[in-house]
Symmetry: C2
Subunit: 258 residues, 2 copies
């Protein structure tokens, strides 16, 4: 069995490049570390390209169906090497290269409950919003350019696998989004602090798109002006805003009651 | 003007000890770093004990009312020293020692909307839950022993000042909580995955206590068995659970609609 031990090996060089956002984008691939995330992705139908692991790791897990069914993708490496490459502090001796799911904007727009994310910056918020959207029954997600990379490891961890649960398109340009909105039959609902309409006093008409904006700046005006309804959550105790993930959750589950 | 430059100075030694949870607890004090957090605490009525800052920092901000009104608490230190002591990567040249708010369990229980937190572990979740509870109109919080320290800097940052917005008691022993529940007129609502009752199909009777449990293990059975109502959030797309902060937010804002 061939085992890679050198950081100069071509496969390792390629793997290390994928830790940079720019390179992930050009290759349409991303990285998962650790069995829990990789197995979750596999079970949800993710398209695994390569799996780097140590022989010791293989021996310990070889009776698992996930391991049995993916042997053709294995690349054996030394423990030192995997530790050097991995992002996690306690590397779990297994790293996968995954091909991005390919979804068209038309496919995403052809749903009844669509979430639109405009420039969310925090990886934890992005992952949490994915997880919550899937749980609330939203069926697809559009993400504008300027948002944190969905395939950032922190996002993947906080999404707890939810990014495989529903189709999404990322890096949407502002103009592409506004043109799509103009042409679509969607009712557009926009979360916005500058309105007097409360989220729980609106009747929601599907097919709908709910737009959630940047943590500090909210939704861009070009998108806001296309909204059929602006809405906000009433806040007490002089609290000025909610965490973006919580705000999105409160509104999405209100919509789910419909 | 006296300026401390040595890490062996007694005031600096005391300050450094407060970065340990054990010491914070025995002194009933905690630390805030950076103008935004300290000013927010001051405006919300926090009891500031000492403020460590550099002369340069003072010169830059001396026209601010917060600075003018707290000069009696100032301790001038060198920039190197504040950088060595501070937890933040980009120290903001100002650190405050704050006295813990003193609240009795009876005061916390004498409200109509009470949140009970049973062993929440993640600092981000704890801070977010505080912020959301205040925003949703909850009036007090009980926190059981085994939860993350509320005065942990990460909690304080994600609470965005909300810990000064409502009275709370922490480190409640399990037995103290269950005895309080038995003696109180509160209706107890417990978020629990093992129930068929949905949170949006229950009528909420005040005075009430909503109990939120540990991220992985939920609410302890001794508390659960005192609940008048167990409730859960319906989840789609095979999502097994929500982030604890999101789940708490969805339920608290549902209760706030009452």
């Amino acid at each position: 069995m061939e085992k890679i031990t050198s950081i100069k090996n071509d496969k390792i060089k390629e793997l290390r490049k994928l830790y940079q956002k720019k390179y992930r984008k050009s290759k349409s691939q991303f990285i998962l570390e650790g069995l829990r995330l990789i197995r979750g992705a596999y079970k949800s139908g993710a398209n695994l390209e390569l799996i780097f692991l140590t022989e010791e790791y293989y021996e310990k897990h070889k009776t698992e169906s996930f391991i049995i069914n993916n042997e053709d993708k294995f690349v054996y490496v030394s423990a030192n090497l995997i530790e050097e490459v991995a992002d996690t502090n306690n590397p779990q001796e297994i790293i996968a290269v995954v091909n991005e799911p390919q979804t068209s904007i038309d496919e995403v727009l052809d749903k009844e409950y669509i979430l639109v994310i405009d420039r969310i910056q925090d990886p934890g918020n992005m992952g949490t919003i994915f997880r919550t959207a899937a749980a609330a029954g939203f069926q697809s997600i559009l993400i504008t350019k300027g948002s944190v990379d969905v395939f950032n490891l922190k996002v993947l961890r906080s999404s707890v696998g939810a990014i495989y649960s529903l189709p999404f398109v990322k890096d949407i340009e502002l103009e592409e989004l506004t043109e799509s909105f103009k042409e679509s039959p969607l009712s557009i609902y926009a979360a916005d602090l500058n309105t007097d309409n409360y989220y729980n006093e609106i009747s929601y008409q599907k097919p709908l798109a709910l737009v959630i904006g940047n943590e500090a700046g909210g939704i861009r005006p070009e998108i806001l002006e296309l909204a059929d309804h602006k809405l906000k959550i009433p806040l007490k105790s002089n609290i000025e805003s909610l965490n973006a993930g919580v705000a999105a959750g409160v509104i999405m589950f209100k919509i789910a009651e419909n």
